[in-house]
């Protein structure tokens, strides 16, 4: 494979970024719109302790995937030189 073929620009994940961005935005909108109800439930303690933990995992999955794609679309990516540290 030639040098130019190896370094062809990859297709940017615009569709995925939009999808995860919308989900992420919806999660934040719901969080702020329903904050009183959420606070009342989440601050009960006891078994409700699982609620903030589950919420954090859900947000980190959708928003984390979105932010990853966001930087890729902007062209900010890891160095192509150092993929592995030994």
């Amino acid at each position: 494979m030639s040098y130019t073929e190896q370094h062809k620009p990859k297709k940017k994940p615009v569709g995925l970024a939009i999808l995860f961005g919308i989900i992420s935005l919806a999660l934040y909108a719901a969080l702020l719109a329903r904050q009183d109800m959420l606070n009342a439930h989440f601050a009960q303690g006891g078994m409700s302790a699982f609620l903030p933990i589950i919420t954090a995992f859900i947000f980190s999955y959708f928003h984390g995937t979105f932010t990853g794609h966001f930087w890729t679309i902007l062209g900010v990516e890891a160095s192509k030189k150092k993929k592995e540290v030994k």
Binding site: S2, Y28, L31, A43, G45, H63, G64, W71, V85
Partner: protein, 362 residues
């Protein structure tokens, strides 16, 4: 626990300015964490408290943003081959025990000496630990820089060589970051100390990362990436503990997470552009600057405890604001160095790519 439940019911009202502030501090904190494996919490917790959030809710909410952030950062850096999951989990488990013990010490001090006593203990821990470890890390980075061998593979210390040479049958485990088998027993005190520090000053990584580098012999990049696994394990357990008492303000945690997930991706990518000694530079600088910030607060707490002459309200106010400003400066400087190093690395790579292309076309 009744007073805790009352504090939890006292969640603050959020306006647009507060949301933007938390998002931005989260972003900068995430950027630094993605790069050195920890950091940000020392600004976030007092930052939230300055908005009127009760101390325990601030600590709990910070912790609840920390573990999902660390998870995303660890997954990102695992793609670059920088994470040693086994070492992270081993240290994370003993760190969890350290967190519980550290919290117990905190509670005992608070009971005996009140808020000022507890704050004094936290500030002195900051000054002592950051003074010793921060200066050591910075000195090491400076020596590497002066030697001109910044590209050379990092040498392991004498103590790490000794740790790797000790053979205790039945406890030996191979860790890929060390490329050696060491006794799992060595990870216990290191993880425990990381946990105690996390429970005391909220940034366990200031002990966790240097101990992996200097005591176990891990490369800087792997140590800082593996710290994210420790932060995940510690943060998950800690968040659950606080959530059991209803202390987590999920809105604060998720807003900070919103900013920090943008930052942590950048910080993680930044590690692929820099020379490994830059991890030590950023970590050492932040530690030493934060040390000054906390040292400024020592007279305030000594005065509150009546151990020195009473400070005027004006002096206390000036010391508090200067201390907070220095902490923000430490975080901002760390973020600036990461972004600058990343920018330069990217430019150099793009230039090299263009030159190679031109050469290929000729």
């Amino acid at each position: 626990m009744h007073d805790l439940a009352q504090a939890a019911a006292n969640f603050i009202n959020l306006d647009a300015a507060t949301i933007i502030y938390l998002f931005l501090v989260g972003f900068v904190g995430g950027l630094v964490s993605g790069f050195i494996g920890s950091g940000g919490a020392f600004v976030l917790t007092p930052g939230m408290m300055s908005l009127g959030v009760p101390g325990l809710v601030a600590v709990a909410s910070n912790m609840c943003h920390k573990f999902p952030k660390a998870l995303v950062g660890a997954l990102k850096r695992a793609k670059y081959g920088q994470v040693d999951v086994k070492l992270g989990i081993a240290l994370g488990i003993s760190a969890e025990a350290g967190v519980l013990y550290g919290a117990h010490i905190q509670e005992s001090i608070k009971k005996a000496f009140g808020d000022a006593g507890s704050n004094l203990y936290v500030s002195i821990s900051f000054v002592v630990v950051l003074g010793v470890v921060g200066i050591f890390v910075l000195r090491d980075a400076w020596k590497t820089y002066k030697s001109g061998n910044m590209h050379a593979e990092e040498k392991i210390t004498k103590i790490a060589r000794w740790v790797q040479s000790v053979n205790i049958p039945g406890t030996m485990v191979y860790f890929k970051s060390l490329d050696a088998r060491i006794s799992i027993l060595f990870t216990i005190p290191l993880g425990f100390a990381t946990g105690i520090l996390a429970a005391t000053i909220a940034v366990g990584g200031f002990v966790g990362v240097p101990s992996m580098i200097y005591v176990l012999g891990a490369p800087s990049l792997m140590a800082s990436a593996t710290e994210l696994v420790i932060a995940f394990v510690m943060g998950l357990g800690g968040s659950f503990k606080y959530a059991l008492h209803g202390m987590v303000d999920i809105r604060l945690a998720m807003i900070i997470l919103g900013g920090s997930l943008f930052g942590i991706q950048l910080g993680a990518m930044g590690t692929t552009y820099v020379k490994p000694f830059m991890i030590k530079v950023v970590m050492g600088l932040i530690m030493v600057i934060v040390l000054f910030s906390r040292a400024l607060m020592v007279p305030v707490y000594l005065s509150q405890l009546g151990l020195i002459t009473q400070l005027t309200e004006q002096t206390t106010k000036i010391l508090k604001s200067t201390s907070f400003a220095i902490m923000i400066f430490a975080l901002a400087l760390g973020a600036f160095i990461v972004l600058k190093a990343m920018w330069q690395g990217r430019r150099a790579e793009q230039l090299e790519h263009k030159e190679t292309l031109a050469h290929v076309e000729i």
